[in-house]
């Protein structure tokens, strides 16, 4: 690798455009958003203006965002995401495990089958779920055939959680697969050989040794769940709202941009906190990943 000082012109030519783009069309907008989060709508002639703002007036928006109403929504977003993440982990772990122990002939196909839905548009997959779960959908049709239902399976928390699990499952399978595949199987054999049952071996050896993959998968699923907008919007109905929907509402229907900006930053801080937790945990389990 060359030192950048050896060839400044090439360095700047290569670095310039991308850096510029990211600074102007990503960092600068975030800066605007940051400023907006500390601003308020201007009061002109005693009326609240729709388009004008008084900039940098204070932290009133953040104070409002920890108001019980919004705190409840933030809290709900967190537990819905956490529950979806745990369900993802519970289904993805056996899948990843099974793929790793499948015969070499089947491995690539199984892996492709897990990843393929991930490449299909999120909106379309969510739409497909609606078609399956709506009251005249196939699930109710099948239940009706055996004399049950119809049940309202859409527009509630259950639908949102199911949708999130459905949509983000590949994010969990891939890192788990990568770590389990790398795991030296003789550790499991040694544990069995020393008298541990299959279950004990799983708890005391397999899980601790695949912890790095579990952590990565959990973070990779938790972050997009927390920031999700489309899934709760389409599957959640009015009372299954998450923070992403509140932000959208501030920028569209409610037209309260300063407050929306503050909520966006709360969401970003939560995301960074999750990322930092991951870095911390990764460092702590560093010795394990041999």
């Amino acid at each position: 690798m060359d030192n950048w000082k050896d060839n400044r012109s090439v360095f700047w030519t290569l670095a310039g455009p991308g850096t510029f783009w990211l600074l102007v069309f990503f960092i600068l907008p975030l800066g605007f958003l940051f400023v907006m989060s500390f601003s308020d709508k201007a009061i002109i002639n005693g009326e609240v203006s729709i388009t004008e703002y008084d900039y940098l007036t204070g932290i009133s928006n953040y104070i409002r965002s920890v108001d019980t109403l919004y705190l409840t929504i933030i809290w709900k977003s967190i537990w819905v995401s956490a529950l979806a993440t745990v369900l993802c982990l519970l289904t993805a772990y056996p899948i990843a495990f099974g793929i790793c122990f499948a015969s070499e002939k089947w491995k690539p196909l199984l892996l492709l089958l897990v990843v393929l839905p991930f490449w299909i548009n999120l909106l379309i997959r969510t739409y497909a779920l609606i078609a399956v779960f709506r009251s005249q959908g196939y699930v109710n049709l099948a239940l009706g055939a055996v004399g049950l239902g119809p049940y309202d399976m859409l527009y509630n928390n259950f639908a949102v959680i199911f949708g999130l699990v459905y949509v983000y499952m590949p994010f969990m399978v891939l890192p788990l697969y990568a770590t389990i595949e790398r795991l030296d199987k003789s550790y499991l054999e040694a544990s069995l050989d020393l008298g541990a049952s299959q279950f004990t071996t799983f708890l005391k050896v397999t899980i601790p040794l695949t912890m790095p993959g579990i952590i990565t998968g959990v973070i990779l699923v938790f972050i997009p769940c927390l920031g999700s907008f489309l899934t709760p919007d389409l599957l959640g109905g009015a009372n299954a709202i998450m923070i992403g929907n509140v932000i959208e509402r501030q920028f569209k229907a409610a037209n309260d941009w300063p407050f929306g900006a503050a909520l966006s930053f709360m969401l970003m801080y939560a995301t960074f906190a999750a990322l930092m937790l991951r870095a911390f945990l990764a460092k702590r389990s560093a010795g394990v990943d041999v």
Binding site: S103, D184, S186, Y187, E189, A190, S191, L192, D193, L194, G195, A196, S197, T200, K204, V205, P208, L209, G287, V288, V290
Partner: protein, 362 residues
């Protein structure tokens, strides 16, 4: 013979791909033996060992351990423990936790676990490293952890897969002696897998030589060396001169054959044979002389020295003979002047006592 602790009866293992890794093996191992499975790499030794431990199951046959057929018993229900080739010391546990693992998961009381763990660590001289994690240890130390972890379970049989292969030469010699010492102190049957004949010969009380999944011979080290049963064993254990021979006539207790370059020879043997046999003789059993040896009954042949390699205490001389294979002769350099005293190209006689050679029928 006392009742065998491990009795392998007609065991075969065919892998799904079609490879027959172990082919109708029969071995009885007595309590307290230091038994070695010896063979070239890929011959099925590890597979056989893993079937004893329960990490693989045979497709055919019985594996009787302590009087019970355990061919299909899961590994955690067998009185055997294994030291893995890669050691498989758990990286997320300290040395102490590793050693205690096998006791804790089987519900041994905690105070007994503590005591036995400490004893086992003492035995492999690792007490001072009890709190270390494996990634802060050398390969040799990790192997001791693996040993202690297996021995602390007091198994009926300890299985070791190529225990010395990953160590460097110096450590290997130490460990070889240490394993022999341990086996004597703990009084447990050891079954060791190795591809290194020196290792097997120097440690084991008995050896099974395996080729292509099948047992060639089971014998003590000296029997294997002096009385190899097959060409494969003779060739695999030490250096040997093998001379093909055509059978001329067979009697009840003797074979007369025409050996390449040596002429007509008669051997006392009771073994059945086909049309061809091989005459085997170790290089150190051969004598050289400039003049034709006069003693009666010697097998002798004249040839030319093709090569002389000087090794300090011995010299290895290759003699080419007419109509036969080159013969290797090892001579002691017991005079201080000029080693073996032979030169390349020199005409020379090679001779040996018939009793020092063997006729191999397979």
């Amino acid at each position: 013979m006392t009742d065998p602790i491990v009795s392998i009866r007609g065991v075969s293992k065919k892998f799904p791909g079609g490879v027959i890794a172990v082919d109708d093996v029969n071995i009885d191992i007595a309590p307290n033996e230091f038994f070695a499975l010896l063979g070239p790499s890929g011959c099925g030794k590890t597979t056989l060992l893993r079937m004893i431990s329960g990490l693989e199951t045979p497709t055919d046959g019985q594996i009787i351990i302590g009087g019970q057929d355990m061919a299909l018993t899961p590994p955690n229900k067998r009185p055997t423990n294994m030291v893995f080739q890669s050691y498989a010391v758990f990286p997320h546990m300290t040395v102490e936790e590793n050693v205690a693992y096998g006791l804790r998961v089987t519900g041994v009381p905690e105070d007994e676990t503590k005591r036995r763990t400490a004893e086992a660590l003492e035995m492999v001289k690792l007490s001072h490293l009890a709190k270390r994690k494996p990634d802060q240890m050398s390969g040799g130390q990790r192997q001791r952890v693996a040993l202690a972890r297996a021995l602390v379970k007091r198994p009926k049989v300890l299985l070791l897969d190529e225990p010395l292969s990953a160590l460097d030469a110096k450590l290997r010699d130490d460990m070889r002696m240490e394993l022999t010492r341990l086996q004597e102190t703990v009084g447990i049957t050891f079954i060791i897998v190795t591809h290194d004949q020196d290792e097997a010969l120097s440690m084991a009380s008995r050896i099974a030589v395996i080729d292509k999944g099948a047992v060639q011979q089971i014998a003590t080290p000296s029997e294997l060396y002096e009385q190899p049963a097959t060409r494969f064993v003779a060739d695999f254990i030490g250096k040997v001169n093998l001379i093909d021979a055509k059978v001329l006539s067979k009697k009840a207790k003797a074979i007369t054959c025409e050996a390449k370059g040596l002429g007509k020879l008669t051997f006392d043997t009771e073994k059945a044979c086909g049309d061809t046999v091989a005459v085997a003789v170790r290089p150190e059993k051969l004598k050289i002389s400039k003049a034709e040896p006069k003693a009666a009954g010697l097998i002798k042949v004249q040839g030319n020295v093709r090569d002389v390699a000087y090794y300090g205490d011995t010299s290895h001389i290759v003699v080419s003979i007419k109509g036969g294979p080159d013969l290797q002769v090892n001579v002691q350099n017991d005079s201080r002047t000029g080693g073996s005293g032979v030169e390349r190209g020199q005409a020379i006689w090679v001779s040996w006592m018939p009793d020092d050679s063997l006729v191999l029928t397979e």
